[in-house]
């Protein structure tokens, strides 16, 4: 923890992330305008005193939508990464610990998932299930799973090689306990790093898919959706696209900085 503090980039990232979470949690109290209600009379206003960041075509306050968008992006990011981490870790554990058949089957399945380019896999899943926020989280989660599976499998194999594990098995300690006490703690560190960096990717992918109309649907205020909304008015109302874009960039940047710092601290082997 102390080493993390020394890394200035990571600390900046951490503060920004905390700020973001705070904004997302207290979204309702921070916004003065309803993010969804339309007010056609006050459409396309430039940033000014009444609407700090302007309004979009339908008169909705950009700032309010931005703040609520933070909540959605964070939720999507967390759930997607959660799905990927839990699924991937479970698969990796099973494959790595029990070996042979389990390993073969599971890794073949993972290889199959990896045969598809990331975004396209998420795309295909959304094609099947239909475009909405729920399926978006599932799609992004599943497409991120292979990374965790492979990582965990490697960690498990490394941990299994330790003599104390061999000793524990020989003495008759049940598998579950071995996994819980000996294997899992070793696996935790790289998974945390991957999860942090994964959140950045998940938020980006989710925003991109929503931008294309394949994720969160309007009128929900999600940053990708806001960018898509403003795309046609780029010349006359630059603020509709610029602020969500900046929001995405800053969020992802902060998470990346935090993730890089965590990686340097927790697992120097992974350092780029």
């Amino acid at each position: 923890m102390r080493r993390l503090r020394r890394n200035r980039g990571a600390m900046i990232g951490l503060y920004l992330v905390v700020l973001l979470v705070a904004v997302a949690v207290f979204a309702d109290r921070l916004t003065t305008y309803d993010p969804v209600k339309m007010a056609p009379g006050s459409g396309l206003q430039a940033p000014g005193r009444e609407h700090l960041l302007g309004t979009d075509l339908l008169g909705r306050d950009v700032l309010s939508r931005l703040i609520h968008g933070a909540r959605i992006s964070l939720r999507v990011g967390l759930v997607s990464v959660g799905i990927a981490a839990i699924l991937g870790t479970t698969l990796g554990l099973l494959a790595g610990y029990f070996g042979r058949w389990a390993d073969l089957l599971i890794m073949r399945f993972i290889d199959l998932l990896l045969a598809f380019p990331n975004v396209l896999l998420a795309l295909a899943i959304i094609a099947i299930l239909g475009p909405n926020i729920f399926n978006l989280m599932i799609a992004v989660g599943i497409s991120a799973t292979p990374g965790y599976a492979r990582l965990v499998r490697g960690s498990v194999l490394a941990a299994k090689a330790n003599t104390y594990v061999e000793a524990a098995t020989a003495v008759g300690v049940p598998d579950g306990l071995i996994i819980w006490r000996h294997i899992l703690p070793n696996v935790l560190a790289p998974v945390i790093v991957l999860s942090t960096l994964g959140m950045a990717g998940a938020i980006l992918t989710a925003a991109a898919l929503s931008f294309l109309g394949l994720g969160v649907q309007p009128p929900t205020a999600e940053w990708g959706v806001m960018l898509a909304d403003g795309r046609n008015y780029l010349r006359i109302a630059w603020w509709i696209t610029t602020f969500p874009g900046m929001a995405i960039m800053v969020t992802v940047l902060a998470i990346n900085m935090l993730g890089d710092g965590l990686r340097d601290v927790l697992d120097p082997r992974l350092r780029t």
């Binding site: 598809f116 099947i128 239909g130 780029l234 874009g245």
Partner: protein, 295 residues
């Protein structure tokens, strides 16, 4: 080879998992007539067991028949064939830009380690990884098309129309490559044989280029395959923003229009393409690093 088979099974299953009856969807309003639905189902062979349907799908696909698009009423294969060159053009150029910029940035950072150039390069790389592609594309359009009027914003054909999309596609990969090249170079520069070369009195530039550089590139090649996949995924967004014809954009529109056979075709083609590229990368990896050849 088994991977390709697996892909075909996966894609087939995916499209069949779509909730709803394809025949009903195709008939649309006429679907109220139960007999018509039954007839269409029989015609399309939807009554047969899944395995038979899969076999039919596979054999047809291998002969180039991927079904017909419901919306455009054209063979899917032909639609894919028409847009493929545009996507290939975009992806390859994007990859080229990514490698060029990435290597340039990474080597600069490594060679000027611990100077402001190193830090600046890494900040640029970090920013490249964090910036959403669709926003970058819109910004570029705003700057270079709307404000400055230098580059055309949409369409395909000609170098000018390729510049912005290819750059937008490639800059993320460039950032990833830059970081990798930098660390790889730093690692290599620490090696003993570099010290030996320097001690021999070889000019620094010769040392860097001949000895360090080529070895540093090896891990980059492994990453290239993955990055290519990322680029393929990126075409989905880029082609939509810049209104270029292409496989990616086709995938998006087909999903929005519920034109499932087209979606199936695009996903299948992309996955096969990606797998082939990865195989090529695996082979070239063995070619570049003699240590692996004797594996």
């Amino acid at each position: 080879m088994p991977v390709l088979l697996g892909i075909s099974i996966a894609v087939f299953l995916m499209m069949h998992m779509v909730p709803g009856d394809p025949a009903k969807m195709m008939l649309g309003e006429l679907a109220v007539n139960k007999e018509a639905v039954e007839n269409l189902r029989h015609q399309l062979g939807l009554d047969d067991p899944i395995a038979v349907q899969y076999w039919r799908f596979l054999t047809r696909a291998l002969h180039g028949d991927l079904g017909r698009s419901v919306l455009e009423n054209q063979p899917v294969a032909r639609m894919l064939w028409q847009v493929l060159p545009s996507t290939i053009e975009l992806t390859l150029t994007g990859l080229g830009i990514a490698v060029f910029l990435g290597v340039l940035l990474g080597v600069t950072a490594a060679v000027r380690h611990r100077t402001w150039l190193d830090n600046a390069s890494m900040v640029v790389a970090l920013w490249g990884v964090s910036m959403p592609t669709f926003w970058m594309g819109l910004l570029l359009i705003f700057l270079f098309s709307l404000k400055l009027g230098w580059l055309p914003a949409t369409g395909q054909g000609g170098l000018l129309r390729l510049l912005m999309p290819a750059f937008t596609l490639g800059y993320v990969a460039a950032a990833v490559i830059a970081r990798l090249v930098r660390s790889s170079m730093l690692e290599v520069l620490r090696q003993e044989y570099v010290r030996t070369a320097r001690a021999k009195g070889l000019a620094d530039r010769l040392v860097i280029y001949r000895h360090a550089f080529k070895n540093a590139l090896i891990p980059v090649v492994t990453v290239l395959g993955l990055q290519f996949g990322a680029l393929l995924g990126g075409t989905v967004v880029i082609e939509t923003i810049f209104s270029r014809p292409g496989v990616g954009r086709l995938a998006v529109t087909s999903i929005l229009n519920k034109d499932f056979l087209v979606t199936q075709g695009t996903v299948l083609m992309s996955a096969v393409f990606y797998t082939l590229v990865n195989i090529i990368v695996d082979f070239s990896y063995a070619f570049l690093d003699p240590r692996i050849r004797y594996d």
